[in-house]
Symmetry: C2
Subunit: 311 residues, 2 copies
């Protein structure tokens, strides 16, 4: 994968709720000195604590690869991100509000910084190189502990100041609603891998290691597991159909931990989407192809965008 003409690498940081992944990414997309460290959580100065750690990682990488100084850095984070202003607007898990990441990171690193949203950046890589590249109206969903998404319309990323793609917080019918009510909850509370494990434990009393165990139990005839899995499929299908009706989504790429179920997820999801839709165009449901490094590659592409052509 050729990321640009330049041979000099860029620094790439994928800041997650649990871990930070860091590395130097060269012009061919190869990651040098890849490392993973816990994300520091400091409620008093959440943004600063993360950037302090990134500066340490940058120094380590500079010491490890003295011959190839990074000329730009890419940082991606979760939550609501205003990439134009360079501001982390909000992160529920990491705790910042309106933190000026680009300016503060450039102070610490001394090189230009491209700051953007984690899932949008990874999804742009997935959308450029993966199974949805022939489509213009695409949603990339990352279904793991939570659910995040990137939305493409007419071939372009929909950002809306960082507020687009909050599919995990979109309302779905609540399978646990009291009888006779039309209560709703959010997709993440039913359709995420985390919710599947949690709701199965609540329904059965049995502890499981994750959504994969629930799927296994369902295949062995466990009724509670089958119900919880079906609820998740229903909720994911519900949200996919909202995308189809609102913005005419023609392909949905599903990544994250839950996508590892492959056709055991995608087949019932297709069936349910077909049941809900009427005259509308049926979306292609596609498993994500790129793995854990899509975020690092996305951050690197963002950083390389700061360098002029041929840089």
């Amino acid at each position: 994968m050729v990321l640009g003409a330049a041979e000099s690498p860029v620094l790439s940081f994928d800041v997650g709720g649990t871990d930070i992944k860091a590395g130097l990414v060269d012009a061919r997309g190869a990651v040098l000195g890849m490392r993973r460290v816990p994300t520091p959580l400091d409620p008093a100065r959440p943004g600063e604590a993360v950037l302090d750690r990134l500066a340490e990682l940058a120094a380590e990488l500079a010491a490890e690869f003295p011959g190839v100084p990074a000329r730009a850095a890419g940082i991606i984070v979760p939550g609501i991100v205003d990439s134009v202003a360079g501001v982390g607007v909000y992160s529920a898990n990491l705790g910042w509000r309106d933190f000026p990441f680009t300016a503060e990171a450039e102070k610490r690193l001394g090189i230009p910084v491209a700051f953007d949203h984690d899932v949008r950046s990874a999804a742009a890589v997935e959308h450029s190189f993966g199974g949805s590249k022939e489509f213009n109206d695409v949603v990339v969903m990352v279904v793991g502990t939570g659910i995040a998404a990137a939305v493409f319309s007419g071939g372009k990323a929909v950002t809306a100041g960082g507020f687009a793609g909050e599919l995990g917080h979109a309302q779905v019918p609540d399978p646990d609603a009291a009888p006779g009510t039309t209560g709703s909850t959010i997709l993440e509370a039913v359709g995420s891998a985390g919710a599947i494990a949690k709701r199965y434990h609540r329904a059965s009393g049995n502890r499981v290691n994750g959504a994969r165990d629930v799927l296994l139990k369902a295949s062995e005839g466990d009724q509670a597991a089958a119900r919880v899995w079906a609820d998740a499929v229903d909720a994911l299908a519900f949200t996919i159909c909202q995308c189809v009706n609102i913005i005419g989504t023609e392909a949905v790429v599903i990544g994250g931990g839950l996508a590892e179920a492959g056709d055991e997820l995608l087949d019932p999801l297709r069936t349910r989407v077909n049941q809900i839709l009427d005259f509308q165009r049926r979306p292609h449901l596609i498993r994500a192809q790129l793995g854990q490094d899509a975020g690092l590659l996305g951050a690197a592409i963002n950083a390389r965008g700061l360098l002029g052509a041929g840089q």
Copy 2:
């Protein structure tokens, strides 16, 4: 309102499920010879029947205004419209599938034809001149007998080959679902003016003239009317929040018959939207400003776009 430099008018046709509106629209947006005739319904040749009627209307207007020949025509229709290909993909009410409107209309009228979607065209006028013009991420909903919508993202219309904006067919929780189920229905079946009148009749046995009567009865203490109105508000708020979560919609313009309720609709709708949303940006809810002629103006602007600059 100045539509362009040209003094010569364009033919404008707004084809609805019940009526066709037609007129000559001059460069200032004034409508000459405006008329309204029933939409012909011919199940065997639905597209041709409509175009035959448009050709008759064009001949009438040419005879009435002999000094100002139209140099282009705009035709807008409901349903799924592929304006790039010039094809009426599907109309549930009018019955066509994949009918080549642009090519067939140009044969009959002998001038260039701009063919597009009715609500998207009217919404573009509303969005250019109305209360949402300062916003980039906007949904314009027309809530009448049914519900249609136009979606703008980053300042541009989202079309997705004609499949975007089907908000009336987006799923919402079904207030009539059997107890203990999480059934859902479509927005149009609960939140439209047509549904409000129909559901009140079903709940109370009382016939009403329309949604406005139900609102009046609710204000007089009729519990069934209040319930039906609240269900409609819930359903509209549910769909608005889907737009906010998926594409970061920052303003929703509401037009059509139901918008005539003004703040009696918008105030409870704002309250309900605020209850559903959490950290998300709250959308501005705005009443549409342009009236019945927005469609004709939109079709005229489309037609004028076919003429070169200064034509």
